[in-house]
């Protein structure tokens, strides 16, 4: 009987497992996940969960779980993989023999490298992180958000709508610049200020002050920013320590081909952890739709490999990138992969209300940004998909 282990019970792990079953894997399916409890979805953590709104977080309902017929080893970490004996070692000392392995271990948030007080400094990745942050926010006071990426912006927005005094500290010129480019980021930065959030840019964090509990930040230019709660949103990276010595090639993520296959036969990776080969070289994408779609491709390739079939006839993972974010009561949607010098033009609406903008290079649309304009965004994205596919 074929045994397949899926490491990581996030979206990518669940999608891989569902695909394995749907495509006929009738052997053992073992889930190993470090987080306790049932699989849940992350996007609501920085939105509804912080606001105390109800959100359906479950990635699997009872029926879905029964259909998977999987063995669950949750609250357990995988500590090593031996490709020669094909065993995975678990944190509790157990060893499992496997034929196939799906690596879906996601990423871990980075934190500040300076000394940190025991309490009041948060990162946000897990449900436990989100509830801890929500409890701290309930105490009120001044909130400092370090890092103006999507998660930082969403946390700032949530904290502000709870009525708190919020400051975003961004090391670059403007929040979201890396993701959306300078002109778009500039337009959107106004929304922080219009919502009453203080925005400090070009400022790194030198130190975090406080004894047991945080009292504030000292910025690189010497400025002192008092804070009762600090949220650090400065990016994330995969934790690949358990793959050391396994022979699975890793760099900034687990390296895969267009089908999610690693260099070790019978081992695939998908989701935030995977750095996959694509038309523009190599990409590691930390967005939801990538974690939904890549595991489907990877699970099919894994089954083909295990059955000795030709994988290269299968569809590759090469999607048009798509991101959404909810901030300050607005919905942002972004699709495409613009270059640094692309022309940015607002084609509909006004920058302080709903608007749609396109990025262009040599007269070709390379990306689309929509704010509260789902209908126009959808139409432009459809055009972009056609160009992407051709």
């Amino acid at each position: 009987m074929t045994v397949i282990a899926v490491v990581g019970t996030g979206l990518a792990g669940i999608r891989a497992a569902e695909t394995l079953r749907a495509e006929g894997h009738d052997g053992r399916l073992i889930f190993i996940g470090e987080e306790p409890g049932r699989p849940y979805d992350r996007p609501p953590l920085s939105k509804q969960v912080l606001l105390g709104e109800t959100a359906d977080l479950a990635l699997l309902d009872e029926r879905g779980e029964a259909e998977l017929a999987a063995e669950w080893r949750t609250g357990t970490r995988v500590t090593a993989f031996d490709p020669h004996n094909r065993t995975v070692r678990l944190g509790d000392g157990d060893r499992l023999n496997v034929d196939g392995l799906v690596i879906a271990t996601g990423v871990r948030p980075r934190t500040l490298s300076c000394d940190l007080p025991e309490s009041g400094v948060h990162t946000l990745r897990t449900l436990a992180d989100a509830t801890a942050l929500r409890d701290d926010l309930a105490g009120g006071g001044r909130i400092a958000v370090v890092g103006g990426g999507f998660i930082g912006c969403e946390v700032a927005s949530a904290a502000r709508s709870l009525g708190h005094d919020v400051t975003v500290v961004e090391a670059g010129d403007t929040p979201l610049r890396a993701a959306l480019g300078e002109p778009a980021a500039r337009l959107l930065a106004r929304r922080h200020i219009d919502s009453g959030v203080h925005l400090v840019t070009g400022a790194g964090v030198h130190a975090v002050t406080g004894g047991r509990r945080v009292t504030g930040l000292v910025l690189a230019d010497g400025r002192v920013l008092p804070a009762d709660t600090v949220v650090v949103g400065i990016g994330a990276a995969p934790d690949l320590t358990w793959l050391a010595g396994s022979g699975v090639a890793c760099a900034d993520g687990v390296l895969t081909d267009q089908w999610g296959r690693t260099n070790v036969p019978g081992v695939v990776a998908a989701g935030d952890v995977a750095a996959y080969a694509c038309r523009t070289g190599r990409k590691r994408v930390e967005h939801w739709t990538n974690a939904r779609d890549m595991p489907v491709v990877a699970a099919r390739a894994l089954l083909a490999d295990l059955r000795g079939e030709d994988t290269t006839a299968l569809p590759v993972h090469d999607p048009l990138p798509y991101i959404w974010s909810d901030q300050y009561g607005s919905r942002l949607q972004f699709a495409g992969r613009p270059g640094p010098g692309d022309r940015f033009t607002v084609v509909e609406g006004e920058p302080d209300g709903p608007f749609v903008a396109v990025y262009e290079h040599s007269g070709l649309v390379t990306a689309v940004l929509g704010v509260d304009s789902p209908r126009s965004f959808t139409r432009l994205r459809a055009g972009l998909r056609r160009t992407w596919a051709s």
Binding site: R292, Y322, P374, R375
Partner: protein, 105 residues
């Protein structure tokens, strides 16, 4: 039976949103050949309006998170939506598109 709109208002290849007073929620109408399909306009995942979405064959893709709903069954093809949207039986009476007030899930 609730009247929604004249059949002539439905343009092939587009989704039309109607919000009839007798029904609690807005509906999305699609005409394909001689048939008219009617489903709830609000996505079963969050609050997107499916009539803002993309129509391909018998599927409407939600404009927000891309779950695709089958016009015939209301079922989504992939997450994040997991529940179907309601599907309504459509009849055309004297050129008017009508539905029964109670859809089927």
């Amino acid at each position: 039976m609730i009247e929604l709109c004249p059949l002539g208002d439905l343009v092939a290849g587009t989704v039309t949103r109607v919000a009839p007073p007798g029904l609690p929620a807005a509906l999305a109408l699609v005409r394909i050949g001689d048939r008219v399909f009617c489903i709830d306009d609000t996505c079963s995942h969050e609050t997107a309006s499916l009539s803002d979405g993309w129509l391909a064959g018998y599927q409407i893709e939600c404009p927000l998170h891309e779950s695709r709903f089958d016009l015939r069954t209301g079922a989504p093809d992939c997450p994040p939506a997991r529940r179907p949207v309601r599907v309504y039986d459509v009849v055309v009476v004297n050129g008017m598109v009508c539905v029964e007030a109670e859809g089927t899930a």
